[in-house]
Subunit: 212 residues, 2 copies
C-alpha cells in the first residue's frame, strides 16, 4: 500500500508517519518507483507498537527508539535484553547511590518471597521507593500482606511468561507491551474488585452477599 | 508539643505545617496561651496522611482537601463515600460522554467476571481506556487472561477488605492510602516476579530451576 493508505489504516496523520520514517523508528518501504514506496503489514504492525509506546505508555521518541532497538536486535542474552527493555519503561527510578545497601526494604521483601534480588533491575528501586512511601505514611506493608500480594502476582507473572512468544523479537515486544499496557488493567481490576466486594458486603448492610 | 517540634517530627518545614493549618487541612492545636498551641499524635498522624497524598500520590492541595473531607465526614453511606474517595485518586479519567454505552469493553469484562458494573465509579472508565489501549496496540486482553488477572486481583482485594478498619473515618483513610500507596508495590512485584521466573528459566538455558 502507499504511505497515505498506511497512515489512514494506522489512524495517524501522514506527517507523523513521515516523521517516524525520517527518525528511523519505522523501516523504509519497498521502492516501487523513484518517488514512491510500498508498505505492508509489517509497517502497520510497527506503527501500532510506536503509537502504543508514545501514546498510552507515554514514552519520548528517544525512549521509544531505545525500546525499538532492543526489539530489533535482542542479541544473544534474551534475559538481559528483556531486563533492559522493561527497565526503560516508566516510572523512572533514581539511580542507586553509593550506599552499601541502596535497597534494604526491597532486598528484605524479595528474600522473604524467595525471589531473585538483582539491584541493577529498575523494578528493585521502584519497589524500594514504593515500600518507603507506604512506611512513611504509617501504612507499612506487613509480612503477611507481602506474601499474599507476592504469591498472587507471581501467579499472574507465570501466566504472562507462559504466553511469551519463543521468537526473540516477538518476545521483547510482548514483554514491553504486556508490561506497560496491562499494568493499568491490573490496577483498575483491583479497584473494581474492591468495589465488587464492598458492594456485596457494605451496601447489603450485613445481609448475605448476592449470588455471583 | 509545640508546632516546631511537630514539624520536626513530621519531617516537614515549619512553613509547610503553618500552610496546612491556614488551609484547614490540619486541625488547630489546643491553645496553651494567647500565642501558643499544643499539638499531639493526632496532628502528627494527619501530617503523615497529607504528606502521602501530596507527595507519593501526587495530589494537589485541592484534591487532598476533598479526600480529607471524606475521611473527616464519611457520612452514613460508607460504600458511596469509599467510592467517591477512590474516584478522587489518580489517574484522572475522562467523563463518560452521552453515549448509550460509554464503557462497552469494561462492561463486558465485568460481566465475564461476574462483578458489579457501576459506570459512575471512576475505575470503570479507567478499565475501559486500559482495555482500549491494549486493543489498539494489537495486544487485546484475551478472555483467558481477563479471568486469570480478575481472579488473582479479587483475591488480593478480598485480603485488603478483610483488613479494613470497621470505624468509618479509619476505613476511608485505609482505603485511600491502601489503594494509592500499594498500587506501585503491586506493579513492582509483578515486574520482579517476571524477572524471577525469567532468571530461572531463560538464564538457566533450559536447566532445572534453582531451589526456592
Amino acid at each position: 500500500m502507499r504511505i497515505s493508505s498506511l497512515a489512514a489504516e494506522a489512524g495517524l496523520p501522514l506527517a507523523t508517519v513521515k516523521f517516524y520514517l525520517r527518525e528511523g523508528l519505522l523501516h523504509p518501504g519497498l521502492a516501487s518507483s523513484a518517488t514512491q514506496a510500498s508498505y505492508d503489514e509489517s509497517h502497520l504492525h510497527r506503527l501500532r507498537v510506536i503509537r502504543a509506546l508514545t501514546g498510552a505508555v507515554g514514552l519520548s521518541v528517544q525512549q521509544t527508539r531505545t525500546i525499538l532497538g532492543l526489539i530489533d536486535d535482542p542479541g544473544a542474552d534474551l534475559y538481559s535484553t528483556l531486563g533492559r527493555a522493561v527497565s526503560a519503561l516508566p516510572p523512572a527510578v533514581r539511580e542507586a547511590s553509593g550506599d552499601d545497601d541502596p535497597h534494604p526494604r526491597a532486598r528484605a521483601a524479595l528474600e522473604a518471597l524467595g525471589q531473585v534480588y538483582d539491584p541493577r533491575y529498575a523494578a528493585v528501586a521502584q519497589l524500594e521507593s514504593a515500600l518507603e512511601a507506604a512506611e512513611a505514611a504509617g501504612m507499612p506493608i506487613s509480612a503477611e500482606r507481602l506474601l499474599e500480594y507476592g504469591r498472587r502476582l507471581h501467579e499472574i507473572a507465570a501466566f504472562d511468561l507462559e504466553r511469551m512468544p519463543r521468537e526473540p523479537h516477538a518476545a521483547v515486544e510482548y514483554t514491553v507491551l504486556g508490561t506497560a499496557l496491562y499494568e493499568p488493567v491490573i490496577l483498575a481490576l483491583r479497584r473494581l474488585a474492591h468495589q465488587d466486594i464492598a458492594a456485596r458486603g457494605l451496601r447489603g448492610e450485613g445481609g448475605a452477599p448476592e449470588p455471583r
